[in-house]
Symmetry: C2
């Protein structure tokens, strides 16, 4: 292979060393005992590389070994829980790695035991699909068109400058082909006066690259349409004409006494919360063992064993020859973690944030650092945890207010054009709120049109600028939520809000609604289409009750409900599986991590959540996993050009009869805030009697 792109090179490329704002990254990570769920450290990743490289005794065949994923092969859940319950007595469970590698053009799945310094399992995946792409092969493929004579001719025919052309690798999906090769399409863009390449697609050319052979195996130049102009596309401040709108004065979040959370290894503690946070090159942030301290019980109580984004599907709604296949799986094809971007202090996260790094492996298996990949900060947005003003008691007014402060864990993944802002927010109430922000650049299609008047055919998008169509598309993020509400054995309850007719004339009212709860016995009971009826979705612990006799539980509160509109027989829907319903519940199975399967590139939908769920296993009073989709239908508008402002969707996990009463009743007054140039001290807490 011409270019070996090392982790070192990639790190250098991604780490931003130039900050306008000087900051200090606090040394929050102390020397700590390794936790069984800690991601593999750089030294461990190097050890994996050595063990695997040695095992295949590569000499001349070395060029055909490439790494696509290395991550923690986590210990069995019971082992982790047993270690946790008595961790001072037991040594840490064996550290193991899960490796996806291509060896001599075959998909290998390898489990390495680091304690034993040995491979304990190795198998060839001879089913469909391929592992996620690594950066090196994408970079190599991207270089091919510009030295390929037919492509050079196509560029010349369009009157474009070759040195301003930039190509990117796109997975091709699967559309019923019997045999597949490991190919990508190269889509090429034009710079020449802008850095916003995505607004300047060179339309009409299909370049197919065989990644194993690393050569172009297909080429077609179907049609020539104008490349949209550069003018108005560059979003950098330096490229704007002098802005003239009214300025907003400086504003920031201030914590003069520093943050209230602590980080010990990968364990974050804040308010009553405690959780483990780590990074995976496929899925990004993994939150584990989230538990909350119950003041009355004087113990930490489990809420979530693991939560992460298991897959991300982005199907475009354009059937033209160069577009129909664009149905991307950003986790399984490109690596949602791998695409994470270093966060810029005081800008991507507020000035009071603390940053953490993550590690990945490059094509050759060597570890690379992704610096400042997470930020953690406390948020005060001017809102209230709760309040009440009581004026009913004659001669007295009581006002009692608690301002809301929460803890945010953030990662931003920039998968080519799109920037996904992932926020896991922990609230003092016991709620975990997940918010996905979408910003960055649209994928646009060039066409002949300069005004909607000219459009007489289906163009699959909105005319955003001259020759620029913003294509209709969706985003579906599937969350793997292994809730363990006060223990592993849980049940999933659909509490339907059902209208009842008051027919017996005993009441002047003619109707009301009440709650009719159905406990899901098997997986089929828990496949849910949201939107058509009102229901509360609960994960309860059937063997734990409150003093009042209610089952201890947590509620899944959806955000905006977005359903997949593709027909059931369409390939991207078959491949994803998970978009067929908004909510799924499965029994815990260590191998069922990634909702659309392990090998997403050209997958055929034979190993995904929809298939697993067909077993219709029992899920009542079992260790269960909830899978929930956060979706976006994106109809672009001109405001999305040339860069789109953030749009959001998400969900909440709220305690529901988990506590005996409001857990923030006894929340302590906040610390004092000293105002700048101001000697007055101010409690962020209010209690008044007049």
């Amino acid at each position: 292979m011409a270019l070996i792109f090392t982790a070192q090179m990639y790190s250098e490329l991604k780490i931003l060393l130039f900050f306008q704002c000087i900051f200090s990254t606090l040394s929050f990570i102390s020397n700590h005992q390794i936790h069984p769920l800690d991601s593999l450290a750089p030294s461990e990743l190097t050890q994996v590389q050595t063990i695997v490289n040695n095992s295949i005794k590569c000499s001349s065949s070395c060029q055909s070994l490439s790494y696509h994923y290395v991550g923690l092969y986590e210990p069995d859940k019971q082992i982790v829980l047993s270690w946790l319950s008595d961790k001072h007595l037991k040594k840490i469970p064996s550290r193991q790695a899960f490796v996806l590698a291509r060896i001599n053009f075959k998909n290998h799945e390898i489990i390495v035991d680091l304690n034993a310094s040995a491979i304990i399992s190795s198998k060839v995946h001879d089913g469909h699909g391929y592992p996620l792409l690594n950066f090196a092969e994408q970079t190599a493929a991207n270089m091919l068109p510009i030295t390929y004579p037919p492509f050079i001719e196509s560029i010349e025919k369009r009157g474009l400058k070759l040195e301003q052309v930039l190509c990117q690798s796109f997975c091709v999906g699967w559309f019923g082909e019997e045999k597949t090769k490991r190919i990508v399409r190269e889509l090429c863009y034009y710079l020449d006066g802008t850095v916003n390449l995505y607004m300047r697609p060179i339309e009409g050319i299909t370049v197919t690259v065989d990644l194993d052979e690393m050569k172009i195996i297909g080429y077609r130049d179907r049609l020539i349409v104008p490349v949209p102009k550069a003018e108005g596309t560059d979003y950098r401040e330096m490229m704007q004409k002098q802005p003239v709108n009214s300025p907003i004065k400086g504003i920031t979040m201030l914590q003069p006494d520093g943050p209230s959370f602590s980080i010990d290894g990968h364990i974050v503690r804040w308010a009553d919360w405690k959780f483990h946070l780590d990074f995976d090159m496929r899925v990004g942030p993994i939150l584990s063992l989230a538990s909350i301290y119950d003041l009355e019980k004087d113990e930490y109580r489990n809420v979530m064993y693991r939560g992460f984004i298991s897959e991300l599907l982005v199907p475009y709604m354009d059937l033209t020859e160069e577009w129909y296949y664009r149905t991307f799986f950003d986790s399984g094809e490109y690596g949602f973690g791998l695409c994470a971007t270093p966060l810029v202090p005081a800008i991507d996260c507020p000035g009071n944030a603390v940053f953490l790094d993550g590690y990945f492996v490059s094509q050759d298996g060597s570890p690379g650092k992704l610096q400042n990949i997470f930020c953690i900060f406390e948020r005060y947005a001017g809102d209230m945890l709760w309040r009440h003003t009581e004026t009913a008691i004659p001669g007295k007014v009581f006002t009692e207010i608690r301002p809301e402060v929460s803890l945010v864990v953030r990662m931003v993944s920039t998968v080519s054009n799109y920037d996904y802002i992932v926020d896991w927010e922990f609230k003092q109430t016991g709620t975990i709120k997940v918010n996905i922000g979408l910003t960055g650049l649209l994928e646009t299609r060039a066409d002949i049109y300069t005004n909607t008047d000219q459009i007489k055919e289906e163009v699959y998008g909105t005319l955003l600028a001259e020759n620029t169509l913003g294509s209709y598309h969706d985003h579906f993020l599937n969350f793997h939520l292994d809730l363990d509400v006060d223990g592993c054995e849980n049940s999933f309850v659909k509490a339907k809000l059902q209208t009842k007719t008051a027919t017996d004339k005993s009441s002047p009212r003619r109707s009301y609604w009440t709650v009719v709860s159905e406990t899901a016995k098997t997986e089929s009971d828990a496949r849910i289409h949201l939107g058509s009826s009102a229901a509360e979705l609960l994960v309860v612990n059937p063997s734990k009750k409150t003093k009042m006799g209610n089952n201890v539980g947590y509620l899944l509160h959806p955000g905006s409900v977005v359903n997949d509109l593709l027909s059931a027989d369409d390939y991207p829907k078959i491949r994803a599986g998970f978009t067929k319903y908004n909510v799924w519940v499965t029994p815990y199975n260590k191998s069922e991590k990634w909702a659309a399967g392990t090998y997403l590139d050209q997958s055929r939908g034979d190993d995904n959540l929809a298939v697993w769920s067909l077993k219709n296993r029992e899920i009542e009073n079992k260790d269960i996993v909830v899978w929930y989709n956060v979706g976006f239908h994106h109809v672009p508008y001109q405001e999305d050009f040339p860069i789109m402002s953030t749009i959001s969707n998400g969900f909440e996990l709220r305690p529901a009869n988990f506590f005996e009463h409001n857990p923030v009743l006894k929340v302590k007054p906040l610390g004092k805030v000293k105002w700048l140039n101001c000697s007055i001290e101010c409690h962020l807490h209010f209690s008044s009697t007049s």
Copy 2:
């Protein structure tokens, strides 16, 4: 009448003089020209009182005059717009007041012209229903039970102390009765060791008070159940046992150079936004004439002529004799503005907030001040307007980020037990985001149960604590949104996302979705049930197009969709009307302001949005009003006891082909923030090249 409750008394009751935190209310309001949409000033309210009092030449009949509402009778829209377009040449349109008064036990609707010092219209409303209650009559009614012998006997029978009993007035709704009197029910609660009266209902007693006669006309003591205990109900900090959970250190929003907005009279200017904000004793905040400056067109462009909460329905789902009628209209029965509570600086709103006052009239027509009824502040919550990191260009990394700062206008209305936090948030992107936070105290029912095991019947709620049922209920807030997108004549477009099957084998794909837009011709086309299908709801200006040819528009983006589950023939649904659909569109009509009608107390649904909309008027290319419901189904959980943490829902109005491109592309860098004890200056804006 025994007690005349004056505005002065009420003001004194509601104004909180005791703040733990010293603050300064900045004098933002300069001497200004009166704006035609300014609410009536205290002097104008006094003038209204004088004119009305004189006109009815009251002598001995004075005691039968009571004021229930006085608000601005706003000039016709065209007059306001014409004044605005050339305001230096024209004198301000006549100042007029709309008065709802009870004169000799009849509902009077009076329009007073203040310039002419005369009543210009006066009519008796002889239809169904009564105006909103005033505080004085509620206070008087609340005093009746405790001197009423049968009630005293009931209290004694329960072994309670009369001096710890507190009663409140509740509207009775309408359930098909042929004749009605102006009555309320008195519901009584027990203090005795708590200020949280709502957790200690004295169940089983029905006290009916005739407000005109101000006497008890009905009494029934149906059943005795235990009054829930006081223990664990008081939410005040001083009443908690020493809290022991980990403290959160001080955190605040800091703007060392002060806010970036200005207030001139009632006109607020911030970033590119300009709007008029005022207070109404019925609906609370009214936002008018919201327009945004378009840098390229170098002009302010209209977005919304008026927006406010037109009505608020809270139906309970309990059919027991003492509960079935609890279907409250918090605006039309109690006055959502009248119930607004003074905001506590640095607690209800962050330290950088500025406060405004509002005015109401008391029973005798005299004006009263509601101090600090609004706060306005800039919010920085650590989020981003937009961002992108570009790593595709070899050897270069571009990161461009704009942090998000928004402007929040807040009011809190405490309607007895519930505290509604109303936020209108203006974003630099052109989006107006409305968020409703619900907190405060549940309305609970006392019953015999101390554990769910004992419950064998329908109890219409969740057992929250011993003898305490949290009743199932809804909240529906109807927003009157008179959008004027770039002018008055607008159309409402439902842009459906429709699945298309790719049947012709021309594409390997089998389906996609596209946008099929339908312009609503008449009102019936624009009555929308959300949730069942995907659609974008747009208000467009059919005569204004972008350069690309797209219709200039704004998008209504719903939050969580909540539908009214009551049967169509149930009384509260008939009376409200507006809950039958999530979205309605009507042609502008000055008299159609309050979605459930003017006279809500015991209304019969003969004058509401559902009735107006039956006319099925034309709404294409007309001056239209959108009515949107924000809903909550509330299934209480033990976490809601004894006080509930804030839950939220809302919607957004987003520009959709309103601008030619992203309007925040040229947003200026934020001002500099000086850190405490820190000489480093930090731009809250980021642009990097490496």
